[in-house]
Amino acid sequence: MSKKQLNGKQYWRSLNQLADTDEFRSFVENEFPEGTLELSDGLSRRKFLSLMGASLAFAGLAGCRRPIEKIIPYVISPEDIVPGIPLYYASAMPFGLESIGVLVENHEGRPTKLEGNESHPSSNGKANAFVQASILDLYDPDRAKEVSNGGESSDFEAFLLAWQDVRNKFENSAGENLAVISTEYSSPTLARLKKEFLKAYPNATWVAYEPVNDENVRRGIKMATGTLARPLYNLDKANVILALDSDFLQTESDVLRNAGDFAKGRKVTHENDQMNRLYVAESNYTVTGAMADHRFKMQSNHIAAFAAAVAIELNKQGFSVPGIDGIKSAGFSFNKSTIKALVRDLITNKGKSLILAGSRQPAHVHAIVSAMNEALSNIGETVTYYTFPDAQPSDIAEFKSLSTKMANGSIDGLIILGGNPVYNAPADFNFANALSKVEFSVHLSSKVNETSLLSSWKIPESHFLESWNDVRIAQGPSSIIQPQIEPLYASVSNIELVSAFTTGQSVKGYDLVQETWSYILSPTKFEKSWRKVLHDGVHFQSSGEISLKTNSKLLVNELQKQSFAMRTASAENLEVVFSTSASVYDGRFANNGWLQELPDPITKLTWDNAALMSRTTAKTLGLRNEDLVTLKFEGRNLNIPVWIVPGMADYSIGLELGYGQSSIGRIGDDTGVDTYKLRTSSHQGFGFGAMIVGTGLKYELASTQDHNGMDGDATAEKGVQDRLPIIVREATMDEYKHHPEFAKEAVEHPPLISMWEEKDYSEGPQWGMAIDLNVCTGCMACTIACQSENNIPVVGKDQVKIGREMHWMRMDRYFTGDIENPKSVVQPVACQHCEMAPCEQVCPVAATTHTDDGINGMTYNRCVGTRYCANNCPYKVRRFNFYHYTKDIPEIVQMAQNPDVTVRFRGVMEKCTFCLQRVNQAKITSKKNNQILVDGDVVSACQQTCPTDAIAFGDITDPNSKVSQMKQQNRDYALLGELNTKPRITYQAKLRNPNPELEKG
């Protein structure tokens, strides 16, 4: 492939850039984006940092005196703790029916960082952004802090007395008018306590409600097989994957395992290697869609028809799918040859293919998917069904009937375990009204949220890092959740509360969990096995795996009732598609500053959600980015800003959930728009028939998509576009086979001769990093892991808007190809640690210098803040502290900071240090033990968390290290290597594996 061919491909970051509008040019050409002078907006997100102001330290002459510092030793030194050496404990993070095995880094009783637990199959040592950021939720200064009753502060003892008073009433009626609403859980102890609760109050109702759940998937499998079950995927065994509106790499269930397994099928080391193929049909542009080899954009309501069309074609090609004969395919408007080729591909890989559909899709889509997977012999291979051991899946029908009962006044006592149903229950349930009819309502919650405010008793809920509990996942592994710190506030856990309701007594979580495990573990060596489970963080119980067969008769019946008609959306008749947010999920992380400021993987929006729409939709409606519009759906109105996402299905409006809360705390309050207001029980996934009316107003959004562009210098517009194809290099498998050196040949340059004397870096260890763009999904876990490890501050929406976000690891996302249906490429960019670093050459005070082992170091105390280095950095990875962002953060939030990393102050530059603290610590440890550093002794935070193992870090002088192995691949290239900066980070070019049959057509 010639250079011309590669350069023929256009890449762009935003539509503005593609169109090269004045706005974009003024942003990238302006060395200091507007508003450099002062923080002017008093209502800014910075209020989080400033509310706790009134810091009197360092004032006046006191600064000249040596401050008196105290050393406070223990009175009795705890066993195991050596001050300065962190301890690591295994635990687990519950997440609905899922749980993620974690290792908690604990500094003298203060948890500071979470990592995945390698022994736990749900994480395999990896963690996503939610796991990484949940440490900040523990130290959230806006957590519920005390028990209160009708606004009066109280305590748990008083609550127990109050419960004693009303308890008899419920006991006499056998709990007839008593109900519990829990979130979804999968916990042996809670399951046991639920049984005991129902024994005490046999007629009580217990329902689970989770705003976003897999109920459709479960019901679909029941439709096909007659049994309620959940599927778990083995993507590592799948050669061909068809995802129907399923973002299985980012927002669906079990994403960590999915992403890891999917990446295994995409690890290519040689041009003759095989790679899996991913087809995605979806309306929103998701992370999974960005990874696709073929992405079919279509409205969510067309997915059912698409699934049916695939099933019909399977039938035609001799793989019988029951129940699809009755489907009228006359109205289907899919490209027949596309479906034929797709189905042929699935059949060729029979038993090694996988079809999966998103939880947003209705049950009958999942029923067809299940039948198709069976027809393709995939069941038991790439997909396995499981029951729900010790779990409580949510059920919308039960929740609805309870809400009705509440509204009728037939519920006198209601216990809400976690969640926030007033905020996120379907809009048609009018849950707030129903709740106000309940006389005795108790809300266990970590936040004083909308639901708490309407409940008579508010009880603070303990974070999973400060309470005893347990979890179990469907495949069998269970974990004990062990507290890392005493509860920070007067909080209780859900098991403690349920037990108190049953017995009227306050029992410690530890005793409750131990009792459960006394039934699970062998009684003879209980203490020993208990300790082993605590140590390992995992105990393998029986798996909930079941083998299910399609019940043809049942499925035929069920499918007859369903409509597969394709409704055509238009500008007057829009489709709305609800999805969880990659930042705040369903709203539970809305008060988490790290996550709020985390750019969305595709839209790159921070601090807000928006009405996402395609370019055509916006054009037809006459809308531009940041226009505030009124979205009308089923008689409900919502004002929401517009954000254009190229590649969205036309006339589909993507709405992220979880924003616009009114009572979650200083970070999350009033960020974005509450889209739950439009979400009704009949349209939980997507709905049809919405309208958009302009308001004529603007709403400013903070998107990072045009920030820190390596194309940002004031070069001619042509030059900008020409350089992008050499920044992200990609090829198809076919091109790769014929031109294995395509990545290296992508750019021609004269021999590189240095102006400077080059330092000798031949003696090891020499640190370097390799990032495989072929498996990086752009999930942003590395960004948060880095933020947690390196004490990176949150700056607020106003600062992000002017390009001052501080993330050391930024995720560049480029679009390429057809503007209506572009492909997307992601590229994580951190400091490249150039051997010939341009930043070092211009620093007037030598604050940024090289170490002998090749790290571009940053000495904060030496930096005077000229910012020459940032200007001279071709990668734009240096971040400047325009304000003392960390000065006013509450003491409780400071507890999340890593004691091994300097907290930076105003006026200094910072950037990725290759986790210098980890490097230095490993070096010291190896020297003390008279050992040589081996590969794996130093793991950078981003590498450790990366769910797809896209990042390798290590000694590049050791030819056997993982990083060297990756760098030896022919896809390896240096970013802007033609500048002779000799970066220590190199990338392995991205590959796509399109179906040759479809490529021809």
């Binding site: 040596r66 030793p73 001050p83 210098t849 230095n920 003390k928």
Partner: protein, 215 residues
């Protein structure tokens, strides 16, 4: 006509210039010395909550540093002992002494004793005790003759120059095995040759780049 200015006045500008140089040098020298940690920090001897005497314990009774400062060989901080360590002896010894009362009080109430910190590097400098001890740098090199101090004082400036002096050439501070916690150890004859060899066989390579300590 008599001269208004006598002849010697020709030299006045010269003297003034010379004087200015001296004054300027004096000012620079003043700050150089009086503004440096050698003057401002060395000798810092705050009053501690308990009149604990290192001279008595470490000097006269010869207790090893590591009896109390247990972290020194394994972690970055040497550690100040918990009340428990004091009580190992003082539940028997001198239990009635006024000086011991705060310890007993701390032991009974569970409230720790708040010591005043003397040896401190800035927050952006990460000093690690363990690697220095493991590389045979004596306690005395940084802390001075603790065994002669009734009340501990800062005897070295702990400034960056002072750190780097040793990092660039540690030969005079490297001690033979077994002498690390010894007080009053003096380098013998041939220390320079011995230490140079010791440094090369043990691959002692103290970092002198910024990132060795600043992270």
């Amino acid at each position: 006509m008599t001269q208004i200015f006598p002849k010697w006045s020709n030299k006045v500008p010269l003297f003034l210039a010379g004087g200015l140089v001296v004054v300027l040098a004096g000012i620079v020298g003043f700050f150089w010395y009086f503004g440096s940690p050698y003057y401002t920090d060395v000798g810092y001897r705050p009053e501690q909550p308990i009149p604990y005497s290192h001279k008595l314990h470490a000097g006269d009774m010869g207790m090893d540093c590591r009896y109390c400062h247990t972290g020194v060989e394994v972690t970055a901080t040497a550690g100040v002992p918990p009340t428990q360590t004091c009580m190992n002896c003082h539940n028997m010894v001198k239990t009635e002494s006024d000086s011991i009362k705060p310890i007993i009080q701390s032991w009974n109430t569970g409230i720790p004793i708040e010591w005043v910190r003397i040896h401190k590097t800035p927050d952006f400098a990460y000093f690690d005790h363990s690697i220095h001890i493991n590389r045979n740098i004596g306690c005395e090199s940084c802390h001075g003759r603790i065994d002669q101090m009734e009340t501990v004082m800062l005897s070295k400036p702990l400034s960056m120059k002072w750190c780097l002096d040793c990092h660039r050439d540690p030969t005079s501070h490297i001690r033979p095995d077994g002498n690390v916690t010894a007080m009053g150890w003096t380098p013998g004859e041939g220390q320079s040759d011995w230490a140079t060899e010791f440094i090369s066989t043990n691959k002692i390579n103290p970092p002198t780049d910024c990132s060795g300590c600043h992270r």
